[in-house]
Symmetry: C2
Subunit: 430 residues, 2 copies
Amino acid sequence: MKKYNTSPLSGMQELLPTEQAVFDQLKQNISDVYHHYGFLSIETPLIERTDILLAKAGGDTEKQIYMVSKTAESADAPDQALRFDHTVPLARYVVEHNNDLAFPFQVTQINRNFRGERAQRGRFREFYQCDADIIGREKLPIAYDAKVIACIYDALKTFNLPKMVIRISNRKVLAGFLEALGLTDKATEISGIIDHAEKVPEEKSRAALAELGLSEEQVSKVCAFMFTKGNFEEVSGKLREILGDLTAVEEGLNELKQVTEILEAENTGNFIIDFMIIRGLDYYTGTVFETMLEDYREIGSIASGGRYENLASNFTEQSFPGVGGSIGLTRLFFVLRECNLINMTTTQPIDYVILPLSQNEYEASFELARKLRADGKTVDVDLTERKLGDRFNRAGKIANFAIVIGNDEVIAQKYKAKNLKTGETIELVA
Amino acid sequence: MKKYNTSPLSGMQELLPTEQAVFDQLKQNISDVYHHYGFLSIETPLIERTDILLAKAGGDTEKQIYMVSKTAESADAPDQALRFDHTVPLARYVVEHNNDLAFPFQVTQINRNFRGERAQRGRFREFYQCDADIIGREKLPIAYDAKVIACIYDALKTFNLPKMVIRISNRKVLAGFLEALGLTDKATEISGIIDHAEKVPEEKSRAALAELGLSEEQVSKVCAFMFTKGNFEEVSGKLREILGDLTAVEEGLNELKQVTEILEAENTGNFIIDFMIIRGLDYYTGTVFETMLEDYREIGSIASGGRYENLASNFTEQSFPGVGGSIGLTRLFFVLRECNLINMTTTQPIDYVILPLSQNEYEASFELARKLRADGKTVDVDLTERKLGDRFNRAGKIANFAIVIGNDEVIAQKYKAKNLKTGETIELVA
C-alpha cells in the first residue's frame, strides 16, 4: 500500500469536531450581529477571472495568488484564480448587479479567502474573513462609517474578550497635516513610518523621518502628531497646538467629529481617536479604524476597516463610495486560543446521547429523540451493541447528557438524563 | 478604462441578496436537522494534496479536477488541487485524527466542492453539498444506514416539497441475484444497464442485456428484478418467484429488512424498496438510496447515498466502514426554482428599516434598533438624507416593515411600523 501524507496542507486550519463547534459558534455570533444590523448576505464564487482579481494588484498580491487550472472538460474557461479577499469580488458584484441592488447596499460576506503566503506559525493560506460593507451610489453619508464600526464592535463583544478598544483615525487629517507641513510629496513614506511606529522605539521613527530629509522641527511635529490620541476635543486641541490653526485638517476633523458623535449616540463601547492608526491598504481615503485588546497589544489588530472613496473604480466609471470592516476569524481564533482567551471546554457539541439497551427499546428511543429534537435539542441515538461502559465513554466525548433506555424506562415512560461531567442525574419531563 | 467582464465565471452560482437569503435558509434548515440528529460539523480545507484526491480516481475525476498553482511565496507546497467531493477529504481526516474521534463518528460537512465539468445549463462547477456520514471503527451496525436515511429525509422535509419518496436498495441483493443467475462476471455492465433503465424504454434495456450475451430467460429475470419494488414482503415474495429460493440474496435481504424496520420505528415518511436503484459510484457495497419527487421524476434524485465497506482503504489498513448521504444543494435549488417549487417571495431578509427624519432622531432610532435587535430582529437604520419617498422605496426592496421616526415620535416615545407590502400600520410596543 502506498503511504500517503494525511495531514492537511501547510497553512490550512483543520479542527477537531469539538473545536470546530466553538469556531462555528463564534462565526455564527458575528453573522447574527451583522444580520441584526441589517446587513444582507451574499456569496460570490471562490474562483474568479484572473484579470478581475489583478486589476489593481501590485504589492504582494501577485506573489500570493493561487491560479486555478482549466480542466479537460472546461477548456472554455478564461484564466482563473482563487480570490484573496472579499473586496474585489464585491466590487465586481456591485457593478454586475447594481440595477438590482438597493443603495446604500449593506452587505456581509463571511467566507474563505486564499493567499499563498510564506508558511509561518499562525499565518493561514486559507482563512475566514467576516466582512461588513456599506456601499453607496454616488454618495454615502459619513454616518455610515460609524455604523460599520458599531456593528463590528458589537460582533466582537459576543467573544467576551477583556478590554477592547477601537482606535479611529481619518486619512484626510493626516493628508491635511502633511500638506500644512509641506510634506505631501513624502506622504507615502511617512505613512509607512507612522504605521510601524508602534513596533519600534520612538528614536527609530525619528531617525527614519530624518533620513527622509525632514527638518528637526518637522520630525518633532510628525512625532507629536502620531502620538496624539484622545477624545475629539483633546485631539483637535493638540492639532491646533502643533499647527497653529486647523484649516488644513478641517475636513478630516469634521468627519471624525461626526463619526465619534454617532458612536456616542449608538452607545458603542470603548473608542478613542488615535492618529497612529494608518491601515496599510492604500484604498482607504477617510475613516480608518482598528480594534485591539488593551492587555494583549502583542496580538495586534483583531478587526479593522475604513472608508474607500470608490469601491469599483477599476471596473466602472460609476461611483460607488463605501465603508467596510473585517474580522479575520481564522487568525483571530488561533491567537485567542494561544492566549487562552477562548473557552474551549464549556459544553459539548451534542445535548443528549440516548443509549437503548437493546433493539427492543429503539422505538421508544426514537420517539424520545423526536420530542427532544422538536424542542431544539441535538440528540444522538447510539445504535451500537457494545458494552454500556464503552457507549458511555463515547457519549462523554461528544455530549452533555446520556439517557439509558431499558425495558423499565419504556414501561414507566420515565427517563433520566445523566450529566456526563458531574454524574448528576435529572428526570426528564416528557 | 479597460473593459472587464464582471459576470461570474460560467458554472458558478451567484445570487441576489433576496435569493441568497432563501438559499441560506434552506442550507440552515439542513444543517439544523443534521445537528439535531447528533451529527458533528467538520470543515476540511478546500485545497488538498493532489495525490490524496486522485488516490482512487479514474473515471471523470481526473478530467474535472482543478489544479491549484504554487505561488512565489509558497513554492514549498506539494502538488495541490481543489477537492471534488467531501468523501475523500473525510477519509483523510478520519485517518489523520482517528485517535481523537469518538466512533461511531457522526459527521456532517456542508460546503462547496469543485468540478470543472462541461458547461451546461443547471450544472455547476462550484456547488454546495450537504453530507451526513457515520463512520465506524472495524464495524458499524446496519441500523445506522436507517439513521442516515431518516435524517436526510427529515432535512428534505423542511423544504415542503410535494410527495417525496425514498427508494432503497441493497447492492448485496443485486450481487447475490446475479450470482444465482451465473452472471457475476457481467455485474458491472448489468448494473450500468439497470442504472439507466429509468431513462429508456424497457425494450432498449432488454436489447442491451441480450447484447451482453444473456439468454432470453436471463434477460427476463434481470428485467423482472429491476422492476421489482414494494415493501419488504412484496419484494422478497417477488425474488422468491424469480429465483425459486432466497439463499443467494439472503444477506442483502436481511439488511433491507433491518433498515426498513428501523425506518418504520423512526416514523420516517414515504419509502419503498426499489431494485432499480443502483447509484453509479462503485464504492457502495450495501444499502443504496435515492429520494425523488413523485410528480417531478424528470428532476431525478434530490438526495442519495449508501453504505461503503471501507471509507479509507486507500490511506490505511485500518477498517472504517461507513454510511452516508448527500443533498446537492446548489443543483437542487436551481431545479426546484425552475419547477416553481421554492417560494422566493414570502418575506424580505430584513425585518425593520428605521427612517429617522433628521439627525436629531438618530439617538432615539439607535435605541429602538437596539431594543428590536435584542429581540432577535434584523434592523437597518437608514442614515441617508434623501427624500422620504426614495428611502421608503429602498426599504420596500429589502425589508418587511418601515418605522418613520420624527420629533413627535421621539417625544411621545411611540413608534409605528408600516407593513411595506400591505401598507397596514401597527403600533410597536416599546
